[in-house]
């Protein structure tokens, strides 16, 4: 059930929702008191460190840990032998097991090979050097196009491709082929007046959260344990660790620390099972903190891609057919999320004939993780580039051209389903009203403006929320999703709104796995939607109890009591004349009316509602160096309902900044030896403060009928349009259309020189 079925009150006036109070965890976070992953220590803890493969692909002939074990201060050394295969043939679990610790072969530069726990970090570091691993280096491949060649080295032994008819007989690096679409593209292209066809390549990027992965594990010989960990999903940490180590979930209590960014990268596990395994072997708590180099080499970056796209349109700009072939590598196990790319590719548009094909390809690179609207920025770069090229060739206004093709309620989406009420057209129409669009690009050499749209699915999922009414009438609210960007404030606002009490009366905590029912990971822009929906319903359940208590106090029937602005009141004149009872009054006598008062709510929240946005970018290109400066940037997006507008704006701005970084400079650079060349913030170049302008935001509110207040997830969509918007702005400034991401200075300068000739 999504919610109680009450429709969103059109034009509803909110008291708390939509205001901008200070976040409840704010003081801790500006004074340094907030405790993140690496800020916790357990009594008697050891320090764990990981030995990693220097080879992109190698057989492990032998591992000798005896010298390390003898080093004074070393308490445990583990290898794959300490993590037996308990997967029961489940391929997904097997991939996670192998990714956590290499077994017979290492599959990428940085793949974990062994781990130690010692009494100090320096002893643990010294012990790693004493572990002798004999490798037999195998041929490797790190580029998706190279990996698809018939003579490519087979990564992880290769695989028989799924989704291809007839089924291939020979192994390759292609795990699966996906196909989506409808209509008849051959007919559509035949009907077109203009056809644009282009190829694109995009490099892998990293979420670049500032806090490296960290955890402290404590596991006893009886299988009972605790962990403090920075993660987007502590329930998932429990599930994965329990399965991998053969433990019962009830015996593991996982507490999520404050989290220093995730963006999808902390939905996967890396060091956590190792910390538990070391702790079990040493019978001591073990703390593990990744270095920044480890984060880049051995966590989950995005896929890298190679794409081909063809779009046909009539002279008036109406698209008649669209076809894309998308190849993603996402590491040695598949799971590049190319299927989501193929689905999201043309999702902004109402297309009569459309086909997308996706190939999931193995490479000797780290296993890809989700990164904010995973896959959508990559494919949308291609789509928005081609759409703009058609508009340019036809001499059409970029916004009008997109409006002509924009998906709307009733559109059959490119991935199949028919859309309900959606906000893409609204964002495009709102573009025309922005100060940015109404003002020409500031005068200067080689400047241009670009526009791009973006789509994201948004998710809901398993959610549990528990609300207790304290004896003084204040509220303790427990939800189970790490607060990654202000969700305590949003939950408190929704609780306050529904109860009709001041925001300050609600204290919101992120519960550990033993204290609250199951919650899905903080991902898919789900928290404000799903945990918010559950908070509202938990409040409604608490209100029901409080009304019943008031009824008891007054000696009237329960349905004769109504709830208004934090008070129980007789529903009407017939119910009797009683002074309204406040929450504090009801709570104060709770022990005499039936005991403690609480409301809880558990659901699988569906009905998240898809999300759309449109971005405008002005850039200047230094034509002698190929450097791009972003002069002005505006984000327009449908939020359904903005619970705390400051944090909605923050999501828009932060997503745009990440997208700009992806567009211009961020990339994984692999050497010929298959090793990552830029595993640090020095050469993996995320935008710094002086790289960006102020980022203007426009919040549109087209209510999501699936949420009591109309909320849509907002977190992911903002990273989708920037790559296309910047590419289109560069094209407007220079006449050069870039096919490669990032559009870094050497590549752009080369393209500019090509244009001159």
């Amino acid at each position: 059930m999504a919610h109680d079925g009450k429709p969103v009150a059109a034009g509803r006036k909110f008291d708390s929702v939509g205001t901008r109070p200070l976040r409840p965890d704010g003081i801790d976070k500006v004074t340094g008191r907030a405790r993140y992953g690496a800020d916790m220590n357990m009594p008697g803890q050891l320090i764990g460190k990981v030995l990693r493969s220097p080879h992109a692909h190698a057989l492990i002939k032998s591992i000798d840990t005896s010298a390390a074990e003898k080093l004074p201060g070393v308490r445990a050394v583990i290898t794959a032998r300490d993590l037996p295969d308990l997967t029961g043939g489940d391929q997904g679990q097997m991939d996670t097991l192998v990714n956590t610790m290499a077994r017979e072969r290492t599959l990428y530069d940085g793949h974990a090979v062994a781990a130690v726990a010692a009494s100090s970090a320096s002893i643990a570091q010294a012990a790693l050097k004493l572990i002798e691993v004999v490798y037999e280096v195998l041929p490797h491949v790190t580029d998706v196009d190279e990996a698809m060649k018939p003579d490519a080295p087979l990564v992880n032994g290769g695989v028989i491709t799924n989704g291809v008819t007839p089924k291939p007989t020979k192994k390759s690096n292609v795990l699966i082929r996906h196909e989506f679409g409808h209509g008849n593209i051959a007919k559509g292209f035949a009907d077109a007046d203009i056809v644009v066809e282009r190829s694109f390549k995009t490099e892998a990027t990293h979420q670049g959260y500032i806090e490296p992965h960290a955890c402290v594990a404590n596991l006893g010989a009886d299988g009972t344990g605790d962990m403090w960990v920075c993660t987007q999903g502590h329930y998932n940490v429990r599930a994965v660790c329990a399965a991998m180590l053969g433990l019962e979930q009830s015996k593991l209590r996982i507490t999520a620390s404050e989290i220093g960014g995730g963006f999808g990268g902390k939905t996967m596990l890396f060091i956590e099972p190792l910390a538990f395994a070391l702790s079990r072997k040493a019978n001591r708590p073990v703390k593990m903190v990744m270095s920044r180099e480890e984060v880049f080499r051995a966590t989950g970056p995005t896929a890298s891609s190679s794409m081909w796209m063809k779009v046909g349109a009539k002279k008036d700009g109406r698209v008649t057919a669209a076809h894309a072939v998308i190849k993603f590598q996402g590491g040695p196990f598949g799971g590049s999320l190319v299927d989501m790319g193929a689905m999201a590719c043309f999702a902004c548009y109402d297309l009569p004939n459309v086909k997308t094909e996706g190939y999931d390809v193995f490479c000797n690179r780290p296993r890809a993780a989700a990164y904010r609207a995973p896959s959508a920025p990559i494919v949308t770069f291609a789509t928005e580039s081609v759409m703009q090229e058609i508009a340019d060739k036809l001499g059409l206004d970029p916004v009008d051209m997109r409006l002509k093709n924009a998906a709307k309620e009733g559109t059959k989406s490119s991935y199949g389903p028919t859309y309900g009420p959606i906000g893409l057209k609204a964002t495009l129409e709102a573009v025309k009203e922005t100060p940015h669009w109404k003002t020409p690009v500031a005068p200067g050499k080689h400047r241009g403006r670009g526009v791009a749209c973006g789509f994201w699915f948004n998710f809901g999922g398993n959610t549990s929320v528990s609300m207790a009414i304290n004896a003084d009438g204040t509220v303790a609210l427990a939800y189970g999703n790490p607060d990654i960007g202000g969700s305590r404030a949003s939950m408190s606002l929704m609780a306050a709104e529904e109860l009709g009490i001041p925001y300050e009366k609600v204290r919101c905590i992120v519960a550990d796995t033993a204290s609250l029912g199951y919650n899905d990971t903080t991902d898919g822009s789900r928290v404000t939607f799903a945990a918010g929906l559950s908070t509202i319903n938990a409040a409604r359940n608490a209100i029901k109890v409080m009304c019943a208590r008031a009824a008891k106090t007054w000696g009237i029937s329960e349905d004769a009591v109504t709830w208004e602005k934090g008070h129980a009141k007789p529903a009407g004149a017939n119910a009797g004349k009683f002074e309204p009872l406040s929450m504090a009054q009801i709570a104060a006598t709770a022990q005499n009316t039936g005991g403690p008062i609480a409301g809880h709510f558990e659901t699988f929240a569906d009905s998240a509602g898809v999300s759309f946005g449109t971005h405008i970018a002005d850039v200047e290109v230094d034509e002698e160096t190929g450097k791009v400066t972003v002069l002005r940037y505006t984000v327009l997006q449908d939020a359904g309902k903005a619970i705390h507008p400051s944090y909605v704006e923050g999501q828009y701005q932060g997503g745009a900044a990440q997208g700009i970084g992806w567009a211009l400079n961020e990339e994984y650079i692999y050497g010929k030896d298959g090793r990552l060349q830029n595993a640090g913030f020095l050469d993996y170049r995320i935008p710094v403060a002086s790289d960006l302008p102020m980022i203007e935001t426009v919040i549109l509110e087209i209510p999501n009928p699936g949420h009591p207040y109309g909320v849509r997830g907002v977190g992911e969509t903002p990273i989708v349009p920037p790559l296309g918007a910047i590419a289109n702005a560069i094209a407007a400034a220079t006449g050069v259309r870039m096919g490669d991401i990032p559009m870094s200075p050497p590549k752009l300068l080369k393209a500019l020189e090509g244009r001159a000739r």
Binding site: M1, A2, N162, G163, V164, T165, K167, H178, Q207, G262, F263, G264, G265, T267, L337, D339, M340, M343, A370, Y371, R372, A373, P374, S413, Y415, G416, P417, T418, Y419, G420, W456, F457, N458, F459, G460, G461, N462, D523, G524, S525, R526, F604, D606, S607, A608, V610, G706, G715, E716
Partner: protein
């Protein structure tokens, strides 16, 4: 769906998502592992990763999509 002999559209009599998936598995046993493994179900434009007791209306538009995840 290569597991269903290349067929991509199916008509099934079912009152809920759960029943629909069961019937589909009965008609095409090769699909069962895929259906069991977790699919995303879209009913009349609304994505359901769970909520398999969701009642289906007559003539509902249903899509089975790969399992999805976000960041």
């Amino acid at each position: 769906m290569s597991q269903a002999g290349g067929e991509t559209e199916f008509v099934v009599e079912a009152a809920t998502i759960q029943e629909m998936l069961t019937r589909l598995g009965d008609a095409h046993p090769a699909l069962r592992p895929l259906l069991a493994k977790s699919v995303s179900v879209v009913v009349d434009g609304q994505l359901y990763r769970g909520a398999w007791q969701k009642p289906l209306r007559e003539g509902a538009e249903i899509y089975l999509l790969p399992p999805m995840q976000g960041g």
